[in-house]
Symmetry: C2
Subunit: 311 residues, 2 copies
Amino acid sequence: MSMDLLLKNICKKQNPTVVGLDPKLDYVPEYIKEKAFNKYGENLKGAAKAILEFNKCLIDSLYEIIPAVKPQAAYYEMYGTAGMKTLYKTQEYAKSRGMYVITDGKRNDIGATMEAYATAHLGKVKVRDGEYTPFMGDSLTVNGYLGTDGIKPLINVCKEYDKSIFVLVKTSNPSSGELQDLKVDGTPIYELMGKMCEKWGEELPGAYGYSGVGAVVGATYPEQIAELRAKLPHTFFLIPGYGAQGAGAKDIAAAFDENGLGGIVNSSRAIMTAYKKEGCDECDFAGAAFREAMRMRDEIMSYVKQIKLPQ
Amino acid sequence: MSMDLLLKNICKKQNPTVVGLDPKLDYVPEYIKEKAFNKYGENLKGAAKAILEFNKCLIDSLYEIIPAVKPQAAYYEMYGTAGMKTLYKTQEYAKSRGMYVITDGKRNDIGATMEAYATAHLGKVKVRDGEYTPFMGDSLTVNGYLGTDGIKPLINVCKEYDKSIFVLVKTSNPSSGELQDLKVDGTPIYELMGKMCEKWGEELPGAYGYSGVGAVVGATYPEQIAELRAKLPHTFFLIPGYGAQGAGAKDIAAAFDENGLGGIVNSSRAIMTAYKKEGCDECDFAGAAFREAMRMRDEIMSYVKQIKLPQ
């Protein structure tokens, strides 16, 4: 369970990519902003409503070919309470279009507090006799620096609500090695973290060989992708760093197994701002996003060939 | 700058403690919940309003003796958008009472995304010609697993708006050692992370010897507190784990320097639920919180003696 729904979506669309919705206001076409500001004011609410409209148009344009969205919490928190409402509405809309929602929050804490994050993003909260869904993720990215105490509460919520998590293992940024590449008795920290994912994942087994505990592994480190794929056979990868951060499809090829499964590659900026790069009319931003998403899919599928779910 | 405002507050109140506002709905007295549910409904909004009222009463009761509050973001996110509004309103209210606000969010990401978190929690966001404050923290807890790329954007925002951060170094939970105690060429990872704090802090020097980059160091590990105090002379400590997690004032004593500065000790549950432990009428919850806060202050000050700002 847990991660299986994502794998099914990937197989159905024959596309192991996820669109990151990290919507800076600069990315939103003027005509959408104008409309939102006129209606709601030139304030946080106006900005948040413009972003929601932008996201919805992107989702409408992409949901038939892309299996998942990854809204980045920071860009919603930046617009305060109004922004958080847009996060919820974006998640809800993506789910209504059948997309798997990975909330990129990199949350971390311990015990009851981590349980609160798990409830917030993957579970339901009880208020008297009612149950409410605070946010609408199918999966949440998390940071494992605090150890098992910080992951265990998530596992319980994932079990109860059939959800998944992705733990930061080897991140895509240039300085990720400062800590993650340091070696403990000859083994780099990212590998130790990866092995913890394998262990945590034992409690959330999946029907297709991959557990409900995935790992974030940057496309910018192809050698580590290959190494970790070999060492973490039950851990599905969320792969950032493609496109804007410089990695290409070739760098990612080693993430995939003989069934074409093993990872999902994120692209945010390149899809959201494709209309700027294309130089087309801004009204065609969703069309440009679609074209870039198709290009990315085709480029990655030229390495993956075919995706099938093992029997 | 940056951390200096906290140090001044601590000195003024002669109290190196912070009250953690991690408000589970179970902690809120029935009469407050009843009133909120009647007015706003038995739903997320009703729950969030009850928590806000609870927090405000606690702040009113405590602000004259306690220099800072630490709202834990998870407990607000758990109530969705309504909860995030309560986070904002709680921060705003605490600031109006002169308290230093440490938002416990343990946020982490890289580059532009970390900048978005920094803007969300410590800065201002521009919307056309206006500037807005998404959330009202003076300081934010962060996780340094991603390295300098994840901290640098915070430093810039801290400089611009005179704010501070606390980086997770040695956390208070039982399994914190799984990763943090591992040794790289004989040096534990928590110490390496601590040394990065010292380095990052060079860009945010303070008037009293402590930089704007603090460290989270758990009260449950007294030996590490002593060791880190000696090795990180410019890094101020945020110390969780006192009380409910089992540590006492004696365990923390080594965090303080000859001026009685060096750290601030958090207590959440013991203060918020003091009325349950005391067995007093629930209407006196704020009084019980005050009594527990006084007890904690006196216990810790029996080791610290006097706090003064170095000239």
